[in-house]
Structure formats: C-alpha cells, structure tokens
C-alpha cells in the first residue's frame, strides 16, 4: 500500500541555535515555505524549558511524497552557534550543506561531500537592526535560495509571522532575507531542487492542535486544565477560542480540581474533557476511579513527556502507558487510545467522546511531546462530519425505573450499560455514589456490606462495570498493517512510534528487506482473539516503543500471550529516528536481538 509513496524526493533541514534566538519561529516560517511549495511536512521541536541560553533546534523533513517522521540525517544544517554546529554536523548527509556565519561558526571536521556555505548572517542582519536578531531570517533567505524555492513564498511567510504585530518589522525582515537569498543565488550554490507546486498548499498541524479541533468538532463543551508542558498548547487554543466555540474553559488550582470539575460537568450533562501531562495525571488518578465508580463519562488527554517526576519537561516519551493501565485502586473499565499523528488525533478525540459516553467509562488519550508540541505534520484535509452519540441518556422514566422517588440509575441490563439521566430531569433523581452501591445508587457500603444477602449484589455490580470491557474491545480499532502483508519482519508499534517505523519500512524495502509494520492505536482493552490472529505471522516480530520496560510489549504478552522476537526501546528523550529502527531491524535479520 505504500508503493507509490516511496517515490519522490525529500529534504531534511535542521536549524540550531541558543534559546532566545528565535529558532522556533524561524523553523515554523521555513515549514510554511515548504508546505506552501506543495511538500509534505513532518517536524520536531528540540526545545528546552530554559528561557534563555539552552541549545535548541528545529528539524524539518519535507518531501514530494508523504513523510511521516524525521527522515534520515540532515541535508541542510543551519547552525547559528558553534554548539549547534558541534552537536549536529556529524548527522549531515553526503551531498548536504552547512549554511553558517564564518564569524560565529568554525566548521571544523566537515565530512567529505558536505559543502560549507559561508554567509555573513550577522553582518547582513546588523544593516536592518541595532542587534543582529534577524540573522535567522537572513539564514532562511540563504536556505530558501539553496532549495530553489521562489523568494515570494518566504516573503509571505515572514509577513504572516511579523506583519500583524508590526508591518515595519516584517519589511526589514524581508529585506534581510532577500540579501541572504540573493547572496547564495549569486554564489551559484543552489544545490537542491525538489518538484515544487506553489498552487498546492499542504495544511500542517501539531497533534495538540488537531486534537483540540477534533474535540470541539465532536461537541466538547467543557475543557479543564492546569499549566503543564507539553499539554499547554491545547488549553491555549481552547481559551483563545472559547467564546467563539461556545466552550467553557476551566482553569483550576491544581489537577485534582481540574478532573473533578470535568467529572462535575459531565455528570451535569456537558461533553467534558481535561488535559495534562504525566505528572499532572498522577494527581488525577483517584478521581478517574471516582468517574469509573459513578459511571460518569470523562475524557482525559495526557501529552506524555519523559519522566519520572518532572523528568525532561520538553522531551518525549511513551512511558505513561503503565500508569494508565493501573490508574487508581482496584479494577475498573477504561479505554486507552494513542493516535499516531495529527490527523489521527483529530478523529481520536471524537471517538473517545462517543466511546466514553456510550459506555460511561473514562477514556484516556495518550499523545506525546514528539507529535504534540511543535511536532507538525501534514494533514490532507480533516473531515468534520461527525455524529455525536451520547449513549443511553434518558429524560423520561421507563416502567420500573423509578421507585420511592429514586431513579434506577445503575440498573443491571443485558448489555451492562445503565440508562443515565442528568440532574434536574423530573423523576430521575439519583445519587452518584463513589462507594459501592446498588442499582438505585443506594450504598452497599457501611451498613450492608458483608451481609450475606448483599454479597452477590456487590459481585453483580462489580461485574456489570467490568463486563463492559468485552463490548468495548469489539468496537476498538484493530492494528493496521503498513506495507505488504506477509513480511519476514514485522515492526510492532503504538501511537507515535508508527511514524519512524513507516520511514524505516519504506527504506528497508527499497534495500530488498522484507519488512512491514503493525500499528496499534487502540491499546486497551485489547481484542485478544483478533490480535492473536493478526499477529500469527511466520516472520519475526519486533516491538518499537519509547520507554525502558517495553510497556506495550508487556501488555500484549499479558493479554494475548504473544511474545516478541526482539524489541527496540528508546528512552533518551529524543524522538525515535528511522535510522535507529533500521539498525534494529537489520541486526535482527542477523539473528541478533537488538536494543538501541
């Protein structure tokens, strides 16, 4: 299925500098330039939580075919500091180039086949401002010229970036960029040209924004959050559009407040969601159990970052899966979904709401820093058509549903889902009890627990909740194969680890390796029998994920008994690179169990 997608040209660019040099906005401008030249995009934001001085970079992979991940190596390195050069020059590909300011960067040890393109970035920038802050735009000019992209596209991107604030700033930036552009053009140094199509702009989105859009599109009316990177872009977007979208944005004093407000909103009838990162989720756990016990639907998004504790606040990880599998105390049903990229995130938000409301359970979405905050990828249009399914919400009591003024809110039913009402509905009053309760919401705890006539009732109520998992698992999405079926090696991925695997699969197949990947997005509950069938492949299976213990690999083994032949695990905080996957797969081919 990827056959046509392997053809086409691509380019990888990395801009590196010190925090405060404006590398993120430069990266975003460059990304716009390439997207507006008709290329597919995938980016990674290598930032720091330091406010100034830390080393930061922005990586762009662009191509005339679909790109999924960060590509291989670097074709163009633009280091604005010596440190940026030292950190990244070894990754520059043969045939690639380094654009640098000779007064700042000494490009020692450049590999053979890598060209140095000296451009006096600082000197040019100083013509337009007292401080050389525009050197990044000069560099963009040089880069755009080298790529053979029309200057007008860059000028537009600059206007977008600065024009709203101050037209004068945009104008001088354009002039500075133009000088860089012309200088490289006159050098005759243009080295790279892809097939550009200026009539075809590719929309790009991060998974955080796509997720927020998807949630609102699916009828989200209440969003709650407490500041925590890398989940904050979601609340920033929600807050700036709240009134326009008819959305209530609640900013609590901590994550305990955030999730309880969300549960409150859902109980009272709103489609409600909250978001955080792992550390904040740790505070929410008790309340997720509360939502499960009161069968109040709730959607929580966790944008994962490397831990434990505050860990690496601006670095990525897939390390929160175990926490989600073991949220709070004792057993209760939950749904765990992990979209692969921006487009997937958009649709997953909607699915999560419908599933949570239909089954009256907590639904957890796992995004991660790599795709969430600053990880832009091309979306080929998003389909806004969506049917809101609120499940068994009743406003009129059915026969036998009311007794002594109380609604049989937790009725035992054939499908284990009880009718739900919202407070204020005449005759349908109930207590949402966090203690164990009977069908009417009256407690089994304290007074009656342990009495022999009540023991079977506790068992029934507990089983009613747990049995929902059987129905949910039939509705969840099965893993999808990328590449042809029946390969010698299958890379098993979940969430964002699908992306580097795809690029590795494409490249390995071009080298004649028989490989495909199997992408899990719906992690819990797993449909064991179907998954066993799918994974009954003659080839070797290698699990790919960004954590130490192989959290998904362990889940898969626990639920299905399937044992992987090898695994590739990464936990240094950086995204998984396709080259690392390739290396792991190739060493497996030599019958060596690989650990990268």
């Amino acid at each position: 299925m990827e056959n046509d997608e392997t053809k086409g040209a691509e380019v990888t660019i990395r801009l590196g500098a010190a925090a405060g040099d404006g590398i993120q906005s430069a990266g975003e401008m460059m990304m716009k330039v390439l997207a507006r030249s008709g290329l597919y995009i995938s980016t990674y934001n290598g930032n720091q939580s330091l406010i100034r001085g830390g080393h930061v970079w922005f990586h762009i992979h662009a191509g005339t075919r679909k790109v999924y991940s960060l590509g291989y190596g670097i074709d163009f390195l633009v280091p604005l500091t010596q440190l940026a050069f030292d950190q990244h020059f070894e990754s520059v590909n043969t045939g690639g180039a380094v654009i640098y300011d000779p007064s700042i960067v000494k490009p020692h040890d450049l590999q053979q086949g890598v060209r140095g393109i000296p451009v006096p970035l600082g000197e040019i920038a100083l013509k337009y401002d007292k401080r050389p802050i525009m050197k990044n735009t000069v560099a963009l000019g040089a880069l755009t010229s080298n790529l053979g992209v029309k200057f007008e596209v860059l000028a537009d991107a600059i206007t977008d970036q600065f024009g709203r604030k101050n037209p004068g700033v945009a104008e001088s930036n354009i002039k500075a960029a133009r000088e860089g552009y012309d200088l490289v053009k006159n050098l005759g140094a243009q080295s790279f040209e892809l097939k550009y199509d200026y009539s075809c702009t590719k929309p790009v989105l991060t998974a955080d924004y796509a997720f927020a859009l998807g949630a609102v599109n699916a009828g989200c009316r209440f969003y709650a959050a407490y500041p925590m990177s890398p989940a904050s872009p979601i609340v920033h977007w929600m807050a700036s559009h709240a009134k326009q979208l008819g959305l209530t944005v609640f900013l609590g004093e901590d994550e305990i407040s955030v999730i309880n407000a969300t549960i409150g909103a859902s109980y009272a009838g709103a489609r409600a969601m909250c978001g955080t990162s792992g550390g904040g989720f740790a505070l929410m756990q008790e309340a997720v159990g509360e939502a499960a016990m009161t069968e109040t639907p709730v959607v929580v998004v966790d944008v994962m970052r490397a831990g434990p504790s505050t860990g690496l606040p601006t670095k990525t990880s897939q390390g929160d899966l175990n926490m989600m599998l073991g949220i709070s105390q004792d057993d209760f049903p939950r749904i765990i979904l992990a979209p692969r990229d921006s487009a997937d995130s958009f649709y997953t938000a909607g699915r999560a709401f419908n599933l949570a409301e239909r089954y009256q359970v907590p639904a957890i979405i796992l995004l991660d820093f790599a795709i969430g905050d600053g990880g832009y990828s091309t979306v080929e249009g998003l389909d806004p058509s969506f049917t809101v399914d609120r499940g068994k919400v009743v406003s009129v009591p059915s026969p036998g549903a009311v007794s002594g003024g109380w609604f049989r809110r937790f009725a035992l039913t054939d499908d284990n889902i009880s009718p739900r009402s919202f407070p204020g509905t005449p005759d349908l009053m109930f207590v949402a009890k966090t203690d164990e309760h009977d069908e009417w919401g009256h407690d089994l705890s304290d007074v009656n627990s342990g009495l022999k006539e009540f023991l079977p009732l506790r068992v029934k109520m507990h089983e009613k909740r747990m049995k929902k998992l059987e129905s949910i698992k039939k509705e969840l999405r099965l893993p999808e194969i990328f590449g042809p079926t029946g390969a010698d090696i299958t890379i098993v991925t979940w969430g964002s680890s699908a992306n580097p695997a795809r690029e590795a699969v494409q490249r390995l197949r071009m080298q004649g390796v028989s490989v495909n990947s199997l992408e899990f997005t719906d992690l819990y509950p797993l449909n064991e029998s179907e998954i066993k069938r799918i994974l009954q492949v003659p080839g070797k299976k290698v699990a790919l994920e960004a954590n130490y213990t192989g959290q998904f690999e362990t889940l898969l083994k626990r639920e299905t008994g399937i044992i992987m032949d090898a695994h590739i695990r990464k936990y240094d905080g950086e995204p998984i690179y396709p080259s690392e996957v390739e290396k792991g797969v190739l060493s497996l081919r030599k019958e060596v169990h690989a650990v990268v």
Partner: protein
Amino acid sequence: MTVEQQTRFRTLKDIPTPDYMSPGGSLCAGCGGLLAVRLFHKVLGPNLVWVNAAGCLTVMVNYPYVPLKSNWLYTAFASAPAGAQGVRDAFDILIQKGKIPAEEDVKVVVLTGDGGAYDIGLQSTSGAMYRNLDFYYLCYDNQAYGNTGFQVSSATPIGSATATTPPTPSEPGGNMFKRKDLFEIWRAHKPPYIATLSSSFAVDFLRKVEKGSKMKGPKLFISLAGCPTGWGYDPRETIREEKLAVDTGIWPLKEAVNGEVKHTYLPRALKPVEEYLSTQARYEHLFRPTKRTEVIRMIQNDVNNYWKMVSKDENVEIRLVGE
C-alpha cells in the same frame, strides 16, 4: 526602641556585600524573582536549605549554571511546605540527639512562585502554619505561571492578558477575576510574621526579612516579582516597574506581626494606575486599539478602596486618584 535602632539595614549602603547567588544563571534577563531571592539570601546568610516546588526559579538550578551556594530540595508541586516540614523535623532530631551541633543548624526556606503559593500549594502551606512549623516562605509573585508560558493563576490581577486569558472580541478585558488576597489568607492562620516585599524598596525588604528571622514559627513573605517576559517590558526596567506598582498603590508594602497589620510605606499621594498599566504589554489591550476606560477605572477603584481602608485603620492622609 525604634525600628532604626533594631535593624542593621538603614540605607542602600547597608545591603550586605556577600552574595550567595552567582551571576550567569539561566533565568530571563531582568527577573524580579531572582532579585528577591538574592536579597532574601543576603539577610539569612549562607546556611539554609531551599525547598522548592515547580516554577520559574526551578529552571534556575541548571547545571553547570547553578548559581546557588546553598542546598536545594525539589518537591512535588503541591507540597513544598510539607517537604520543609520533613527537613526541619530531621534537623531538630539530629540536633536533639547531638549529631549536629546547634550552631550548625540551617534555616529552612520554602521558595515557590505564585502558582505554588496561591493555587496548588495553598493547602500544604495551611498545614505547615497550623503546625507552627519554624520555617520561611518566600513567594516570588509574578502573577501568573511564568515557567510554562504565562498562564493565569489566582494571583493574576484583573485586566491582565495571559496565555489562558487572552483578550478576545467577546472577552476584551483579559482576566476578569480578582487576585486572591494571600496575605489575608495567611494572616487568618495567625503566624508570627507576614510581609509583602518589593526589591525596588530594598531597605524595607531587608528589614522585614531580618525582623522575621528573629521570630520562631512560620515567617511568610510575598515579593512582587517583575517579569519582563510575561508582563512585556524592557528587562532593564524591572525596578522601575516594581516601584511604580508600589507608588500607584497596586502593591502595598506591609507586614503583620502576630496578626497585627501595619503598612511600612505610606504613599502621601497615589500615582494613577494608568501610569503603571500602560508600561506593560499584558495590559496593552486596555489602551489599544480602543481605550477600555471601564476596566482601568475598575482597577483604580479597587486601589482607592484599599487605601481608604488603610487611611482609616492607620489614621493617615493618603491622596487618592480621581476622588
């Protein structure tokens, strides 16, 4: 004895030369929080343990640019005072057992931003005050969650734009909630000493920390922390901004000794709040494209009402603005 006789800080020249924070840290240029920490440290001397919960100053401690010459313990966001409790108790036990000589005792200082003090950590602070823990609390109040991108906190003043209260066509005024009065919340617990601080009034600052250090039990300080990145002004203007906050009456300098409140600086005439608001980008929407007189007036009225009460309570004449 007058205050002048009790204190070793009379003029700016009395600011102690020894510095327990090295220059060259990784915070924003012009950080008012850092200034407060420096001054605080000068009074208390080198023997202390900072107990810190997530915030801007967390980012200060980044190897190899760690500017500290004292110990530092990170805790979970909600629980710095609880962490301080453990440290204090352990030192007490060690001293009691004779494992540490009493003169080697350390001061335990909780250091958080306003998010940690006003929001998530309030419960933990309340518990520590209730238990009469012998500790210091320094809150550098930059009036939002600065470290994560300037989101609203319950210390954010009315009218301020933040990442989560952006001025929009339907909500043009920015944040529409009034700040919590943390000073009064703390005071309700009746700790021996509470004070508000600003580095722009350095002598007042040093004297208050000195005064608190002579007392046993919880000693709590809220320092205004000018924030060039979040508030949007030139980093060199931090002192000027903080001074304006005091002179307009927005940031009263006061203390409470065993619950009794006294203002340590009484402006004879307040400057209009507009002079302060108009210098910061977080209030830009109150002036451009159209002037939001109603919001500015609301802020001015709040300030006036506050100082009317002070006039009455402390029996002083203060000239208000527009009245």
